[in-house]
C-alpha cells in the first residue's frame, strides 16, 4: 500500500486536477442523454429481465416468448409498431428501483415488462406504482405483487407462489400421505410456497410435522436428508429451482430416499433442470400452470412457432412471456393503440380471456391469472401432464385493496 501513499507535504495538485476533470467529464457525459429519446410513433415497451447470472436463461426465454407473439402479430400491438427498451436487471434487488427508473424515467416507456426475481419485481412494482406505469409481470411469483401491492396498473401473466404450491396439498393427501416434511431455501418465495402447501394439506387433513429451511443459495443438503431419513415422514414437499433444484433431486435420489419417501414440489423443481438431474429426476410429480403434452391447439401452434423461431423447445417461461404480449395486445387493441386512454386499456385487460398455450385463463380482480393447475410427471426431458388437479384456481389475493 505504501507505494500509493501520497506524500504528505506535496501540494497534491495533480490528483485533484484529474479527479475534478474525471468527475466533470462523467457529469458532462451524462448530460446529452437527458433528452435523447424523441417522441416516436411507436409503443415503447421496457423489458427488464435478467440477462446475466443465475436466471439468465429464464430472462431469455421470457423475452423470446414475448417477441414471438409480437412477430406473429406482424410486429405491431394494437395497430402500432413496437420499440423495445431492454435492461439487464442482473437479478440484483439492490439495483431494482434504479434499473426500473432507467426504463420509466429515462426511456419513458409506455409499458414495463419484468421480471424473474421476486425481490427485483417488488422494486419494479414500487416504481410502477409511484409513476403509474403500466406493468406486466411475466414470471416473479411473489404473492405481494397481486396482494398488498396490487394496483390498477399492475398485471401478472404467470402465477402466484401460493397457486402453484396450494394445488399440491390435496394431491399429496390423496397419495395417502399424512405426515409431511417441507424443505426450502429461507427466503420469501420458499416460505410462501411451503405455507400455501401446508394450508391446503392441513385443510385436507394431513399434518406438516417439520418445516426445514436452509440459507439461500446454499446447496449442501446432506444434513437435511439425514434428518428426513430419521423422521421418516410419509412424503416430502420442497421448493427449489435452477441449479439447487437439480442438485437436491440428485442428492435425494443418491441418499436412497426416493425409494421410501415420495418427493413432491411445485413445477419449478423440474422445469429446465430435468436434463441436469438425469435419472434422479424421472417420475417426479410436480404441480404447475403449464405442462408438456397439452393437447390444445394453441399450445401446438405455439410450440411449432417457437421451435421455428429459436431452434429450441419452449418452456413455461416462454409461455408467460408470450401471454404477457397477448394480454397487452388485448388491451391495446381495445384502445386502438392509444396508451393515453389508460382506464379503458386497463378495463380491457381486466376483462381479457387469454388463449394461452397453457389453456385459456382470465384475470382475477387482483390481476393474477385464474388458471388450471396441472399435475405433471417427469418423463425424459419433459414434464408430461397427468391431470388437472385444480380447475381455474384463483389466488386469494390477501391484502389487496382493489
Amino acid at each position: 500500500m505504501n507505494s500509493y501513499s501520497p506524500k504528505i507535504t506535496s501540494p497534491g495538485s495533480i490528483w485533484t486536477r484529474t479527479a475534478t476533470v474525471a468527475t466533470a467529464l462523467a457529469c458532462a457525459a451524462l448530460l446529452p442523454l437527458g433528452n435523447a429519446q424523441a417522441q416516436s410513433g411507436k409503443i415503447k415497451i421496457g423489458l427488464m429481465l435478467p440477462y446475466t447470472g443465475t436466471y439468465a436463461a429464464l430472462g431469455n426465454a421470457v423475452t423470446n416468448g414475448f417477441k414471438l407473439y409480437v412477430e406473429e402479430s406482424g410486429g405491431k400491438l394494437g395497430g402500432r409498431d413496437i420499440e423495445y427498451f431492454v435492461v439487464d436487471d442482473e437479478s440484483d434487488p439492490a439495483k431494482a428501483t434504479e434499473n426500473t427508473n432507467k426504463l420509466v424515467k429515462r426511456d419513458q416507456v409506455d409499458v414495463l415488462v419484468g421480471t424473474v426475481h421476486s425481490g427485483v419485481a417488488m422494486g419494479m412494482a414500487k416504481v410502477a406504482r409511484e409513476n403509474n406505469t403500466l406493468f406486466v409481470v411475466p414470471n416473479a411469483g411473489a404473492d405481494e405483487l397481486t396482494g398488498p401491492l396490487c394496483a390498477p396498473n399492475i398485471f401478472r401473466t404467470s402465477f402466484s407462489n401460493w397457486q402453484s404450491a396450494y394445488a399440491m396439498g390435496p394431491v399429496v393427501y390423496e397419495k395417502r400421505a399424512r405426515k409431511v416434511v417441507t424443505l426450502t431455501w429461507k427466503y420469501a418465495a420458499g416460505k410462501q410456497m411451503t405455507d400455501a402447501f401446508a394450508e391446503a394439506f392441513e385443510k385436507a387433513g394431513g399434518k406438516v410435522v417439520k418445516e426445514m429451511t436452509l440459507p439461500f443459495p446454499n446447496v449442501e443438503f446432506q444434513p437435511f436428508l439425514t434428518e428426513i431419513a430419521a423422521l421418516k415422514p410419509d412424503a416430502v414437499f420442497v421448493f427449489f429451482a435452477g441449479g439447487g433444484a437439480a442438485k437436491f433431486v440428485k442428492d435425494y435420489g443418491a441418499a436412497g430416499l426416493r425409494a421410501s419417501i415420495p418427493l413432491y414440489a411445485p413445477g419449478f423443481l423440474t422445469d429446465g433442470t430435468l436434463e441436469a438431474m438425469g435419472d434422479a429426476g424421472q417420475g417426479l410429480l410436480t404441480t404447475l400452470h403449464y405442462a408438456d403434452g397439452l393437447t390444445n391447439a394453441k399450445d401446438q401452434a405455439f410450440r411449432a412457432g417457437y421451435a421455428k423461431a429459436y431452434k429450441a423447445a419452449p418452456d413455461v417461461y416462454a409461455v408467460q412471456g408470450y401471454d404477457a404480449a397477448q394480454l397487452l395486445a388485448t388491451g391495446l387493441s381495445a384502445v386502438k393503440g392509444d396508451v393515453s386512454k389508460r382506464a379503458e386499456l386497463v378495463k380491457a385487460m381486466e376483462a381479457a380471456r387469454i388463449d394461452s398455450p397453457r389453456g385459456a385463463f382470465t384475470l382475477s380482480k387482483a390481476h393474477n391469472p385464474v388458471q388450471d393447475i396441472y399435475l405433471r410427471k417427469a418423463e425424459g426431458k419433459e414434464n408430461k401432464v397427468v391431470s388437472v388437479v385444480s380447475k381455474a384456481l384463483a389466488d386469494p389475493a390477501r391484502g389487496c385493496k382493489m
Binding site: 443465475t54 436463461a57 429461507k186 440459507p215 444434513p223 440428485k250 443418491a254 433442470t273 441436469a276
Partner: protein
C-alpha cells in the same frame, strides 16, 4: 438427535469439509504460497464444472473428460499467469483483488457466450453409482466417498509437494525472497507459472469431480469463493494441513448449524471464522 443420526451427521460434516478442502486447495497454493489474492478462484471451479459437462457431452465418460480437462485447465492457468498474474506479484493486495474481481465478470460472460446459461447435469460414473445402506431409509452414495478419498489423497500429495520436494522448497523460498532464488540459478518465473497453473488446475479439477453431485449452473463459482477464502484464512495462510482442518471445522459448523440452529445457519460459518481469528489472529496453523 439420536446417536445414529449424530454419527451420520458427523459423516456428512466430514464429507462436506473434505469437499470444501478440495475447492480451497488450489487457493491455498495461489493465495497462501504465492501470496496472490485470487477472487477468480471460484470462476476456475465453475470453468472446471462446465468443462466436465462439455467434455462428458462429447466423450460420454467422466474419466476421459478429466483426462482432457486437466491439461486444458493447466493450459488456461499457465496462459493467465503469463498474460496477467505475472505482473501482479509485486503489486499490493488491493490491485490483486481488483484485477481478479474483473476476471470474475469476464469469465462469467465468456461462459455465457460459449455454453449458454442453462443448468446442466453430469452423470456419476457407472462404477461409482452404487450406494451404501446406512439405515433402513438412508443410504450413502459411493461417489461421495470416492470424492472424500480423492480429497484426502490430494491433501497428502499437496503436503508432500510443498514440504518434501525440491520444487516445494523453491516455492517456499521464492515466497520469502524472489531475488535470492533467482540468484541461486532458479527460474522463479517458471516455478510460479507451474504453481499458478497447478492452482487453477486444482480448482478446475474440484469443479470437474464435484459436477456429478453438484450439477452445473451459472454463478456456481461465487458460492464457493468466499467459503474457500474463509477456509484458507482460518487454517492459516500457506498451511495445507491448516486448510484441511479449517475445511473440516467449517463442514461441522455448517452441518450442525443447519440441524441445531436452522435460523442462523447462514451466520454459523462466519461466526466460527470471526471467533477463530479473534482467538488466533493468524489462523489455526500460522506458518
Amino acid at each position: 438427535m439420536d446417536f445414529v443420526s449424530f454419527l451420520i451427521q458427523t459423516l456428512n460434516a466430514v464429507q462436506y469439509g473434505l469437499l470444501l478442502f478440495l475447492v480451497a486447495s488450489g487457493l491455498t497454493l495461489i493465495f497462501g504460497i504465492m501470496g496472490v489474492i485470487n477472487l477468480a478462484h471460484g470462476s476456475f471451479y465453475m470453468i472446471g464444472a462446465y468443462l466436465a459437462f462439455a467434455l462428458v457431452a462429447q466423450t460420454g465418460n467422466l474419466f476421459t473428460a478429466l483426462l482432457l480437462g486437466i491439461p486444458l485447465a493447466a493450459l488456461l492457468g499457465a496462459l493467465l499467469e503469463w498474460a496477467l498474474f505475472r505482473h501482479l506479484y509485486k503489486r499490493n493486495h488491493l490491485e490483486q483483488v481488483l484485477l481478479t474481481y474483473g476476471l470474475i465478470l469476464v469469465f462469467e460472460e465468456l461462459r455465457s457466450l460459449a455454453l449458454g446459461d442453462d443448468v446442466h447435469g453430469v452423470a456419476v460414473p457407472a462404477i461409482f453409482s452404487a450406494s451404501i445402506k446406512l439405515s433402513d431409509t438412508l443410504s450413502y452414495p459411493v461417489y461421495r466417498l470416492v470424492i472424500s478419498a480423492v480429497c484426502v489423497l490430494l491433501a497428502i500429495g499437496l503436503y508432500i509437494l510443498i514440504h518434501r520436494t525440491r520444487i516445494g522448497m523453491m516455492i517456499r523460498a521464492g515466497n520469502h525472497d524472489r531475488d535470492m532464488v533467482e540468484a541461486l540459478g532458479i527460474d522463479i518465473n517458471r516455478i510460479y507459472l507451474v504453481v499458478f497453473a497447478l492452482g487453477v488446475t486444482l480448482a478446475a479439477f474440484a469443479g470437474m469431480i464435484a459436477a456429478p453431485v453438484s450439477s452445473v449452473f451459472p454463478g456456481m463459482g461465487n458460492q464457493v469463493l468466499i467459503l474457500s477464502f474463509v477456509i484458507v484464512v482460518i487454517g492459516g495462510i500457506g498451511s495445507v494441513w491448516g486448510a484441511l482442518v479449517a475445511a473440516l471445522v467449517i463442514g461441522f459448523a455448517d452441518t450442525f448449524g443447519k440441524v441445531l440452529v436452522p435460523d442462523y445457519a447462514g451466520l454459523a460459518v462466519y461466526l466460527v471464522m470471526a471467533a477463530v481469528l479473534l482467538w488466533r489472529p493468524e489462523g489455526i496453523f500460522k506458518s
